[in-house]
């Protein structure tokens, strides 16, 4: 088949990103040709600020060197500006007369700086801050001249002013509004920012209108004049008064433009189906974005349509702001100014230079503005995007997401303080140096990419915050776009919630049916979606949907935990952590008979036999004669108990008995993730009920139930849920809460994450306030568990493929 021809106008960040996405999915589809007005290959424009400040060099910020274009057979016209397109003949024409024909055209011309119509704007020494040429002019001028004026106190203006100061110039920043970054910060934070920049020697003229740029005899600017008649000296004037989508070419060739080139959700122009547009020049649902994250998201969608997959829609993004001035931490997102029917929570420590403001509307976080301490920026940003109700965490919201519970990286929370050789990711042994190098060399922008390439933060995730900080230093931020919803995996665009809803609403019963109904891109999914979809089927339609053994991870397929040498561990169930002499004797005999190398008491109050050969598993189970402990599954694991009132001199309730009853009622329960319970007999809490999915504490007058605790990767203390009188009530309430989680949780979401997503108040309304619903939930759970087989003994019923234990042959 003859390849089609794709021509791209504009060789910037959004456009080239689109090509990269396209090459990933359809490398053979197009002959690609790129026109670049700038004489450079694609570079990281964001990092012009650190280059200006002398923290990075121009060489370091190149994203796609010329070799990249060559390697992908991309014809690159450097330094050639496109001046016309004949849509009838499908030909692109550059200023020097170069012509290229196209089947598809991608316009990614970015923005133009807005230069206010002031007298003197054409003088020498008056520039914008947009590209390498501008940056070089600033660096050169700083060598030979002293006085600079920056017009505009937004992100760009401040970064320009900061860079010029570091290069030794005397800088005055002129701003029309009463405070700096008025589009991103409120007055208080804006003033804090001004103060710390004043300490660096920056001078400010706020609420000041410029009237004229004054020129000298040689045509070079010499001063800036203001409306009030005053003036300041200037050898260099940087205009940073905003940007406008660059639609010059698009308008000329008759594409519909309205504050940008108007595109639909597939990034196709509404005027000409052969022409697409992405980046700052494109107007999507009335918005032209000026930050990279949403543009990358656009690029991804555009690429799938260029590849004619016909999938993916861009639905708009929420953006957040960070300033790249070393030593100044600020973050803002959403409606940080507040307004009628908004409430604000404010924490202000002007002396310590810390200010935080959260804006809440109808019980949801709608805006955040942080200055001085921005560690929780991404936490707030996530709450804001997810639109989750925050009533139940309101009192703690200001303190952010406590990072104290994070384990695995020497307690570090500031990546800057770490040495290159320090380990950032404790799971995969990845150092700071390795991550920074990968970000630089491979041009990584998002957390997801760093995970893929380096494996850092890809396992337990506790170092995510550190990796985000490294992205900030090295690439200028984490540009993981914030799509409205996240796809379950690369096989589909559907989210976990959509898959769950579809299965329920359409009464789907098999994985194939789900894949067909939701037009999966792969014939039989992948290792991420198949286990999830299988769980959704069996939890939604118990006794109807058939469990698919090949869609379980190996542990759940062989009902034992695989070890790093390919052997397995076997953990028999010991109800509530209790055992007896005959069980112990059988365990001892089994150890001898099968020469089991390691025997260990687990953190879950039972015994683990490690190093069992796969062939021996069925015989070991038989020999033990104890129920499966499900230590391998997304299932009920253990119910830890303490000795309680039976023996303990402080015990107020029979915690051991309740623990055993709970475990007997709930064992064999599959769930979105593993589930752990504990019952303690008094508030001394020896069974550690405060960090369990459901934790119960006996008190003199009854039982307290706590939910959604977690002791693993990130320690989270459980929330108080309800106080009850009798053990029977505990079973019903705990069961109902767990069934709610089973029916609504997303796969691999533990109770702590489920409750964080839906809100504790929601769980309370469903389980506590609505007695009929609670009873129904509890009944559905019992229905699901009724007659469930023990997979160690009932292979057929449990769908255990016994063939797996024997080799096909031995040679």
């Amino acid at each position: 088949m003859k390849r089609m021809k794709l021509v791209m106008v504009g060789n910037g960040m959004a456009g080239v990103r689109t090509l990269e996405e396209l090459l990933k999915i359809a490398p053979e589809m197009y002959d690609i040709c790129v026109f670049s007005a700038e004489p450079h290959p694609n570079y990281n424009r964001i990092l012009l600020s650190p280059v200006l400040a002398g923290e990075q060099t121009l060489d370091e910020i190149v994203l796609n060197p010329l070799a990249w274009y060559a390697e992908h057979g991309i014809k690159l016209h450097l330094g050639k500006k496109v001046v016309d397109v004949s849509r009838a003949r499908r030909i692109v024409i550059a200023a020097d007369g170069t012509e290229e024909s196209y089947d598809r055209l991608l316009i990614a011309t970015g923005s133009n700086p807005f230069i206010p119509p002031l007298p003197g704007r054409d003088l020498q020494g008056v520039i914008a801050f947009r590209d390498i040429a501008d940056t070089n002019v600033m660096i050169e001028t700083a060598r030979t001249h002293k006085h600079a004026v920056v017009i505009g106190g937004g992100l760009l203006g401040l970064e320009a002013a900061n860079g010029l100061i570091t290069r030794g110039m005397d800088v005055t920043l002129v701003h029309i509004a009463p405070w700096l970054m008025d589009r991103q910060l409120d007055g208080v934070a804006g003033d804090l920012l001004r103060k710390s920049l004043e300490l660096r020697g920056m001078k400010f003229r706020v609420e000041t209108h410029t009237s004229e740029l004054v020129g000298g005899p040689l045509g070079r600017v010499t001063a800036v004049k203001f409306k009030d008649g005053s003036e300041v000296r200037a050898d260099l004037v940087v205009m940073a008064a905003g940007i406008r989508p660059n639609t010059e070419l698009a308008e000329k060739i008759g594409l519909h433009c309205a504050r940008g080139i108007v595109v639909n959700d597939t990034m196709q122009t509404v005027t000409d189906p052969r022409i697409y547009s992405v980046g700052e020049c494109a107007a999507h649902r009335g918005i032209a974005y000026g930050l990279v994250a949403p543009l990358f998201e656009q690029g991804k969608v555009c690429a799938t349509h260029l590849a004619e997959f016909g999938i993916g829609r861009y639905a708009g993004s929420t953006t957040s702001t960070k300033l790249k001035v070393t030593g100044i931490d600020l973050f803002s997102a959403g409606n940080f100014m507040g307004g009628p029917d908004c409430e604000e929570i404010v924490m202000s420590d002007p002396y310590g230079g810390v200010y935080k403001k959260l804006v809440i509307q109808q019980d949801k976080l709608v805006g955040a503005c942080l200055y001085g301490d921005t560690v929780d920026g991404s936490f707030y940003f996530k709450l804001l995007r997810d639109g989750r109700k925050i009533g139940d965490m309101r009192d703690k919201l200001m303190f952010g997401e406590s990072h104290l519970g994070d384990a695995g990286h020497q307690g570090q929370s500031k990546a800057a303080a770490m040495a290159d050789s320090d380990e950032v990711c404790g799971c995969n042994g990845v150092t700071k140096g390795t991550i920074c190098r990968a970000i630089k060399d491979k041009g990584l922008f998002t957390l997801e990419e760093v995970r893929k390439v380096t494996k850092a933060s890809a396992s337990c995730g506790s170092c995510t915050g550190l990796v985000e900080q490294l992205l900030m230093f090295t690439a200028g931020g984490d540009y993981s776009a914030a799509p409205k919803k996240k796809a379950l995996c690369a096989c589909t665009d559907a989210s976990h919630q959509e898959v769950r809803d579809t299965i329920r609403e359409t009464h789907l019963l098999t994985i194939d049916a789900v894949y067909r109904h939701l037009s999966w891109r792969t014939p039989n999914g992948c290792s991420a979606c198949r286990p999830a979809v299988n769980y959704y089927l069996i939890s939604t339609w118990p006794k109807e949907a058939k469990d698919d053994p090949q869609s379980h991870f190996i542990n759940e397929r062989s009902h034992a935990n695989i070890q790093k040498d390919g052997t397995y561990s076997v953990v028999p169930r010991m109800w509530g952590g209790t055992t007896n002499s005959s069980e112990l004797r059988r365990i001892a005999d089994t150890i001898d008979k099968f020469k089991i190398p390691t025997v260990k008491v687990t953190g879950g109050q039972r015994i683990d036999l490690l190093g069992v050969k796969k062939e021996d598993l069925p015989a070991v189970w038989q020999s033990l004669g104890m129920p499966s402990g499900h230590a391998y599954g997304k299932t009920l694991r253990t119910v830890k108990t303490c000795v309680g009132s039976e023996w303990c001199r402080f015990g107020t309730q029979d915690s051991t008995k309740l623990g055993i009853d709970l475990e007997r009622a709930l064992w064999r329960m599959y769930a979105p993730h593993k589930v752990k319970l504990a019952v303690s007999g008094c508030p001394r809490n020896c069974a550690e009920s405060g960090i369990k999915d459901v934790g119960i504490i006996g008190v003199d007058s009854g039982w307290e139930i706590y939910v959604a605790g977690n002791a693993g990767i990130k320690t989270e203390v459980a929330h108080f849920f309800v106080k009850l009188k009798t053990a029977a009530e505990v079973l019903e309430y705990a069961g109902a809460f767990l069934q709610l989680y089973r029916e609504e949780g997303w796969y691999l979401e533990r109770t702590v994450h489920y409750v964080a997503r839906v809100g504790l108040d929601y769980c309370k309304t469903r389980v506590l306030d609505d007695a009929a619903n609670r009873k129904a939930l509890w009944e559905r759970l019992q229905f699901s568990l009724d007659g469930e087989p023990d997979p160690w003994f009932e292979f057929d019923k449990a769908g255990v493929d016994a063939r797996q234990f024997q080799p096909l042959g031995v040679i």
């Binding site: 404790g426 337990c460 995730g461 014939p523 992948c526 695989i562 493929d801 063939r803 797996q804 042959g809």
Partner: protein, 134 residues
């Protein structure tokens, strides 16, 4: 010289699943069956840290290693980018529903490699089954 021997019928291998052939003194060979009933054979040893590939989840023409979720191509035995490395592949023939392997290859290829990884994992590795879906 090839010496083909029947080891099982196609139906003895679960769809989207696998079986293995034990080799005395050296690593097993894993035999996979894809969704479209194609049969593949690879050394049962992940190029990463030696995980037994036969225990992974099979999808498309790949298997996800049970230890750290690398994706290995069933046709070439190679890890998909960004991971790198290949494991030995073995020739397979299917004749009238029977699965044949070349005993010459089984007796000579990738001998002596045990399933135990040479390099011991550093720190706490979380297995695919236990790691958050990212």
């Amino acid at each position: 010289m090839s010496d083909w021997k029947t080891f099982c019928r196609v139906d003895d291998i679960p769809v989207l699943g696998s079986r293995r052939i034990a080799r005395r003194g050296s690593t097993d060979v894993a035999i996979f069956r894809s969704g479209d009933n194609t049969i593949f054979a690879l050394l049962d040893r992940c190029p990463h840290k030696g995980g037994p590939l036969s225990q992974g989840i099979v999808f498309g023409q790949s298997v996800a290693c049970p230890l750290h979720n690398w994706t290995i191509g069933l046709d070439d035995g190679c890890a998909k980018a960004p991971d790198a490395g290949c494991t030995q592949r073995f020739s397979v023939k299917v004749v009238a529903g029977e699965v044949l392997l070349d005993t010459q290859e089984l007796a000579t290829l990738a001998l002596g490699t045990t399933a135990v990884p040479a390099t011991v994992a550093r720190g706490a590795e979380t297995a695919a089954a236990e790691r958050p879906a990212v």
